[in-house]
Symmetry: C2
Subunit: 233 residues, 2 copies
Amino acid sequence: MTIADTNSWRGIQAELLRRINEREWLPGSLVPSEADLAIEFGCARATVNRAMREMADAGLLDRKRKAGTRVALHPTSRVVLDIPIIRLEVEQRGAEWRYSLIESSAEPASLALTSRLGLPRDSEMLHVRSLHYADNRPFLHEDRWINLDLLPHVRSVDFSAISANEWLIQNAPYTAGDISFSAMGADAGLADLLDAPEGAALFVIDRITWDKDRPVTAVRLSYAPGYRMNTKI
Amino acid sequence: MTIADTNSWRGIQAELLRRINEREWLPGSLVPSEADLAIEFGCARATVNRAMREMADAGLLDRKRKAGTRVALHPTSRVVLDIPIIRLEVEQRGAEWRYSLIESSAEPASLALTSRLGLPRDSEMLHVRSLHYADNRPFLHEDRWINLDLLPHVRSVDFSAISANEWLIQNAPYTAGDISFSAMGADAGLADLLDAPEGAALFVIDRITWDKDRPVTAVRLSYAPGYRMNTKI
DNA sequence: CAGTGGTCTAGACCACCGC
DNA sequence: CGGTGGTCTAGACCACTGC
């Protein structure tokens, strides 16, 4: 009974998921050791490990050496978001992408920004603001600051021909990033640009990327009203 | 040269990441086969596979049998969000969590909802609305519909003693879910509940969970203004 | 100390698919 | 056909940690 269809790691994982979902293994309870499960399923321990490691990564199992493996008490759902290049995001929605540069100029960055990035105060950064359109309707406003120390040659890039979003992804690798999602009311300027009423609720993504502790770019994406970011668990 | 610090899979992965980040391997280019890399690093092929599989999962590499492994052309950044129980989310912020039930009653669900869930029209569902507080200030409004066909005994649960959020996580397993994030202006009712001005921009999470194609629950979480959801890449 | 998970190995077979 | 990644095995050593 409860024989996995196959003794592949996927089959074993499915069986383990079933036991958790059907409350055969209760939250918080200790589950058999890898070695025991390997015997039960008639496979190598590495195969059981492969199945269980993913479940532990996903937060479904808590594993500790010597203490063994337990079914997680508070299974936090883990959501994976893919954040593509904006052009591709628009095109994947079946819309025509268009892009328009508003402003690109080197300016001293605000104290709030430089301190957040760990740069000297009054550092000069390249400030690029642009609008992305989907089928000729404003889709999002991209407000970006680029670290000129790290990318000096960015001064000569023509951001009316390629979006900063796309240029950076192709030319400025990063090793880490902070992202936050929030909602914000549109101020007068944004409302005008996005063709929305002032105060309209906008979905906002703030992102800072780093290349080994050196900041690359800080960007705020403000989506036109009605935008939804969808995914599955 | 370019010797990995160790021949552990993490060391190898770090070295591969370095080669990609430093443009030693260009986007779109073919990288050596697992077997060749195993020889180069002096380790087993499985160890190289372990390192590369994660990078492929993360979208950094494109792998195909026979065709080999290439550096991804459009590295879409993949973001992982952990969505915990609301009580824990509040407590992790160092605030005191409090909860208050607004309403819990069985009602026929709207046509929009039943069709979305694939239930017969006018199906009766349990409608639970409640407020979560952080340090006595409104934190979020939870507006939930629960499938009474799937969970008939939920009628007798006292949702003034335990939040629907927490009860469901502990008692109603699911196998899949759809999530969407958006921004919404507060209507009069929400504004009043969340102690916010009418029209204030709210961060909203809509989630539907399924247990093998049967809907479990649909919920909308409307966060009080100022909420940010943070994560790292 | 001893049991558990974390990792690595050397080898093997297979599925896929470009050639 | 043959090269590549996907997976599985049997075994091994080790790190961690509860007892």
